[in-house]
């Protein structure tokens, strides 16, 4: 199976920089031996195998699925259902995102530390849940706006610049403790499975709508999904 072997080699090459960086800092800068070499070798093999399988699955499953759904919605011609789907996809994939759950719990601690909320497990949990709902709503909203942009062919920079202005204005008013978390929350919302699916959806939509260019109009959904949570999280910090 030379194709499979070839992709194993590719995955190993993808991983090589991390191995080199860690080995260099461990051996040269910190001047320590590398512990548990056997375990590390097994781990690296698993990462290589995992990456190979993931990329194969991407090309077999996630990309064709995202594209075929985009074509199906374009043929159906109902914008309302497309928006409903876009919102559900954004909201549904974000609410269960483990990175977001971790960040929300951290944010609750910060709020309790700053005496914004009560220092009890219940109020911490409800603050964290509120934050997760806020971020998930904002991502759902972002994907809807992004899909609307693809349909109408609006230039992306106008919307993004408006979003940046929103971030800057909110930064002035938001409590200082929430700013770091809010800025980071933009980066954690888009998981490894969501990104390929959403990208394929955007590119598929842009290729099936007349007058849209998949390169200029198809990308950009992820950009919206990483921008709106910053604004919404700062708003949450101000309201609660």
């Amino acid at each position: 199976m030379p194709v499979f072997l070839r992709s194993i080699v590719d995955s190993f090459r993808d991983l090589l920089p991390i191995i080199l960086v860690i080995a260099f800092f461990q051996l040269v800068v910190l001047q320590q031996a590398i512990p548990n070499l056997g375990q590390i070798a097994v781990g690296i093999l698993m990462v290589v195998l995992g990456l190979t399988l993931f990329i194969r699955g991407l090309e077999m499953g996630l990309f064709p699925l995202g594209e075929s759904m985009a074509y199906a919605f374009a043929r159906k011609g109902s914008a309302a259902w497309l928006f409903a789907f876009a919102f559900a996809l954004g909201f549904g994939t974000t609410i269960a995102e483990p990175a977001l759950i971790a960040v929300a719990a951290k944010a609750a601690e910060i709020a309790a530390g700053a005496n914004v909320i009560e220092q009890s497990p219940e109020s911490l949990a409800s603050y964290a849940l509120g934050l997760r709902l806020t971020v998930a709503l904002s991502v759902g909203f972002a994907i809807v706006v992004g899909v609307m942009r693809i349909i109408r062919g609006w230039p992306i920079q106008n919307l993004i610049i408006a979003g940046y202005l929103g971030v800057v204005i909110m930064t002035v008013f938001a409590p200082r403790e929430i700013i770091g978390i809010a800025y980071d929350s933009g980066g954690v919302t888009t998981s490894t499975i969501t990104v390929p699916l959403v990208t394929a959806l955007g590119v598929g939509l842009a290729s099936s709508i007349k007058g849209r260019n998949p390169m200029t109009d198809g990308f950009g959904l992820i950009a919206f999904a990483s921008l709106t949570p910053m604004i919404f999280v700062m708003a949450y910090g101000m309201v609660v």
């Binding site: 995992g50 993931f54 789907f85 800025y183 390929p196 990308f219």
Partner: protein, 264 residues
């Protein structure tokens, strides 16, 4: 060995629950709204299985092999004893003393981004759609340079304690200026590359670095200063990806000029 298998099993279950909402939404809409079978259903299902299994292997491998060592390294590099060379602890640290931290931040940011599966996915799509004008490796290296530079600057910010939003707002202004000059077809992709860089591989290591640094630098609060590295990592790739497009446009036009010269 049993621990290991148990770990693999729990992580696989974890990825299945992560992906469950996506499956419910996609197949729900397919069945109720589109009401047509998914083309090549069997392949799609096999592909989904590959993605789940691949991601589980990938995560367990990282957690077994690279994360513990990387996190330990982040702690050791930010340790004042290491920074001082152990004998002159009383001396006040200056920001220059953290040079290995900046170098580590830049190189680990670059290296983890090259291995980031979501970025590989977007790069494959971008090469397809652009008809090869944007190459998979060109995009990945441009993004990785951006993440490395961003995280390095982010650690400098934690060391010096300057407010995060100054950097981010200055970065936004740069993004806007560069948007005016960058080729139009790269803009959406460049904005996207900010969000895709930070997922499975980069976030855990970078978070460990930020929290380690904020807890050892005198006068920094873990809660306030420990965050924000991810924000740097999502901002800088926009600049480098637009820069990459400008560079390749410039190179192409220069080659054209050369060809014209030799044609004379």
């Amino acid at each position: 060995m049993t621990d290991f298998l148990y770990h693999l099993w729990t992580v696989t279950l974890g990825t299945v629950t992560d992906v469950l909402p996506i499956v419910v939404i996609v197949f729900g809409f397919q069945a109720l709204v589109i009401r047509k079978p998914i083309p090549h259903m069997k392949n799609v299902l096999i592909g989904f299985a590959y993605v789940l299994l691949g991601l589980a292997f990938f995560l367990v491998g990282l957690e077994e092999a690279l994360f513990p060592l990387g996190e330990l390294m982040a702690k050791q590099l930010t340790d004042p004893v290491f920074l001082h060379g152990s004998h002159q602890l009383a001396e006040v640290l200056r920001w220059q003393d953290y040079k290995w931290v900046y170098i580590f931040a830049a190189s680990i940011g670059f290296a983890t981004t090259i291995a980031e599966p979501a970025l590989i996915a977007v790069a494959i799509k971008a090469q397809d759609v652009s008809g090869g004008t944007i190459s998979i490796w060109g995009l990945r290296i441009a993004v990785a340079i951006g993440v490395g530079a961003g995280i390095s600057l982010g650690t400098f910010r934690i060391v010096t304690g300057t407010p995060l939003h100054y950097y981010i707002i200055a970065g936004y202004v740069l993004v806007m200026i560069q948007t005016i000059y960058a080729p139009r077809n790269i803009i959406a992709l460049a904005y996207d590359s900010g969000g895709v860089t930070t997922s499975t591989v980069t976030v855990p290591l970078v978070t460990a670095l930020g929290l380690g640094l904020a807890s050892t630098v005198p006068g920094r609060s873990v809660l306030i200063d420990g965050f924000g590295l991810i924000a740097f990592a999502s901002l800088f790739p926009m600049l480098t990806v637009m820069g990459y497009a400008q560079l390749s446009r410039w190179q192409t036009s220069r080659n054209h000029v050369r060809q014209d010269d030799t044609g004379d």
